[in-house]
Symmetry: C2
Subunit: 460 residues, 2 copies
């Protein structure tokens, strides 16, 4: 452990957190222009931690630090940073420094970095690469975004079917352009079609004269180059893969995806679901106030429409409310309980769809369960809120109205919560995106309508 | 690719999804008692896919399938299944079949399986293990749940500091109890303290007489056995690690954690955040109606209290509402917008805390940003809703009241949304758990209070 100075490794809650003392030291070095101090501070740190430091300071501080760091800049740091920030930082660096930094990176990292850049800057970075790397990066960029083609790296180790363990080891010792890190040797036929792979651990544990085809993995999956990154991540997670060969339309080997890339996607996708469910787009902590405001606006606008709809429902009952003002006091309870119950159900549904646990095979059973759960909790809360209503306002019938409205709305919440995501998924819309707006509209409208309607019928 | 029969590998949306035709074939085989058919259907499938099939059928069907499968049962399938289900299934299997199934598994998978079992069943499974494995499993179980000790496997490859590449390769070829899959050789000093590790890919690419210490990884991290699994997963993700040695309090090597385990935890933790934010506990699609109802009840109960609090606020203004019934119609809008804006902010905050992007170093900057965002969106929506209010009810002052209440509530939503999670985190409470209840209470109470209060002051 080389970095005990700056990052706590204790078993505390704060393990791996960069402490603010360290950040202050970096800021002080930047302010004083103390380049040697800065380099010494960063030297023991992993690129990912340096990236975090840069993400946590303000934009101006960040620029000052990177400018001072100069030609010691480590390309990996850009790869580990939030893309917006690295794009912004790289704009101010000289061609030489960028070229130097890019040389540290595998092609998949370079692709990841430049795919979000504007054309002129993209050209500039591409121009700084060596010819072979540039061709590989351009090839990757020719695949659609968020597909296997963008995730894969071109650096890989392959062997023909007739090789033995000894051949493979000798060949690797001789080669001077092996990938920095690899886990399998991909076995290919003469047409470059992968027929299997041998994990390095098997290669290690067998005698030199063992045929590679004899020790190939039983489990072997290739990834089509056009597969969505979401499916790639799912496959890595589902089948515990560490690396997988990527093939083109003719089944020829074109690259390799490794688990670290898949892990990143898996996290991104879960993150996206969380954010979308809360009506937050693709935002980060580093976005400006104005950008954040813009990103949050659409969801709030949708919610405004939704709540105006609910108000229109209430407006239909204004004479009932005028007659019994207690209704105005109590009506948000039913709607709010429905909204919460609906959100519970839809969250479970959205995740189950994402992990492919909710399928046509079990959809009906799950829908039935959700309706029963809604009904059961509806009955329980009907009794509680009924009693509260009676005690508070002394009108037994008001308690009955509250209770009945609660049962109906929680049942509807369960039904809407499960069926809206399923239908959206069937229509090809990401269920995390719009489910929440639909479901709360339903529970608000039904909540107010049933409560006020029943009150009008039974209390007036 | 051995399983093109049953799992679609196309580049479609449905890649890796088990089709319902396949599930029907399995169910038909189980119903007819056609054991050979069942075995033939499962044979080409990955254990994780068989686990998914079993998860998607009903409990009765599941039991019938596993009973028919009999001594062909694959232990990996239990490891891949939701724990509740595997525990339930294993209860009905004979000791012989369990013993056979457990022999397929690494110790970390056995630990994962039995840690949730009741004492008698746990004893039974432990009894079915071979002596060495039992000792290893019991050792792991002696560490607290959700720590590195539970995640690690005991099977690993280590080498003393004086070995050369050739020694390591020869030794591995001779050994007959290598782990099924490994990625690094851990270099240990005579006291068993890890001093570095050599990735297999480096071992492959260097001549036999290279000293291992010469080609050790620069980046080298050990994981303390008591570290929380959340931090372990963070470290794997942050530092792109594939495997990491685990050490005890005396810094001695006690096991190894591999990336697939870390990936699982990472997914679990993101999942947990999503679920907690929506007020759903540790539930799965397979829970019974009754269990699901119980799991969802607490959150709904909290919400009931919250909404009764909001109603109490409204009740203070019943004479105002009696005078102007339009207020009852419009009041849910302000509260609902506040709730949504607050949820947006707190979701971003909860995730940023989980990924250690939100720290004391940038907390103030982020808080300031959130307040500005709230204020900005508040002003925009104040204008919109103000106009709506005026057009709808023809009272300009009503528009002013709506607008002012919107500004205040969205500002408060931003402030509460960012500060509640930060404070909970400081207090050592999982911010995903309780933030949402606190924040919506604040936005409801403030929303109703400001709107009705202003209306009382300005309109009456």
């Amino acid at each position: 452990m080389t970095d005990t100075i700056s990052i706590e490794h204790a078993q505390s809650d704060r393990a791996y957190e960069i402490d603010s003392g360290f950040i202050n030291a970096v800021l002080a070095a930047a302010e004083d222009g103390a380049r040697d101090d800065l380099i010494a501070l960063f030297e023991p740190l992993h690129a990912a931690d340096i990236a975090d430091v840069l993400e946590q300071v303000s934009a101006t501080e960040r620029e000052a630090i990177v400018a001072l760091w100069g030609d010691e800049v480590d390309g990996e740091v850009f790869a580990e940073m939030d893309e917006d920030i690295s794009v912004e930082l790289m704009e101010n660096l000289s061609d030489d420094i960028i070229g130097e930094a890019m040389r540290d990176l595998d092609t998949d990292d370079v692709v990841d970095l430049i795919e979000d850049m504007e054309e002129p800057q993209k050209e500039r970075v591409l121009g700084s690469l060596e010819e072979a790397d540039r061709a590989a990066v351009q090839q990757s960029l020719s695949y659609p975004e968020e597909t296997a083609g963008r995730l894969m790296q071109r650096e890989l180790v392959m062997a023909p079917t007739h090789w033995r363990v000894g051949d493979a080891i000798d060949e690797m010792r001789k080669s001077d352009d092996l990938p920095e890190r690899f886990y399998d040797v991909v076995i290919v036929d003469p047409r470059l079609k992968p027929v299997g792979k041998v994990p390095l651990s098997s290669l290690m544990s067998h005698p030199r004269d063992t045929a590679l085809t004899e020790i190939m993995d039983e489990e072997f999956r290739t990834i089509p180059v056009g597969q969505s990154q979401e499916d790639v991540a799912y496959a890595f997670n589902q089948y515990n893969m560490v690396s997988a060969p990527v093939v083109d339309e003719q089944d020829r080997l074109v690259g390799v995806i490794t688990m670290d890339d898949a892990m990143e996607v898996l996290e991104e996708e879960a993150e996206e679901d969380i954010m979308l469910l809360a009506g937050v787009g693709d935002e980060t902590l580093h976005d400006s106030t104005w950008n954040t405001t813009k990103l949050r606006f659409p969801w709030l606008a949708v919610n405004l429409v939704t709540s105006i709809l609910a108000s229109l429902v209430i407006a239909q009952f204004s004479s009932t409310i005028e007659a019994i003002v207690a209704l105005a006091i109590l009506m948000p309870i039913v709607a709010s309980m429905g909204g919460n119950a609906g959100t519970q159900t839809l969250t479970v549904a959205v995740r189950a769809l994402a992990t492919k646990d909710l399928t046509p095979s079990n959809a009906w059973r799950v829908i039935r369960r959700e309706m029963f759960v809604g009904l059961l909790n509806g009955c329980i809360f009907a009794v509680i809120i009924g009693i509260v209503g009676v005690i508070w306002f002394g009108t037994p019938m008001l308690g009955v109205v509250l209770g009945l409205a609660m049962i109906v709305n929680l049942l509807v919440a369960g039904l809407a919560g499960i069926s809206v995501p399923i239908v959206l998924d069937k229509l090809g819309v990401d269920p995390a995106l719009a489910s929440s707006a639909f479901v709360t509209t339903v529970t608000d409208v039904v909540g107010f309508f049933v409560f006020l309607g029943l009150a009008g019928a039974l209390l007036l």
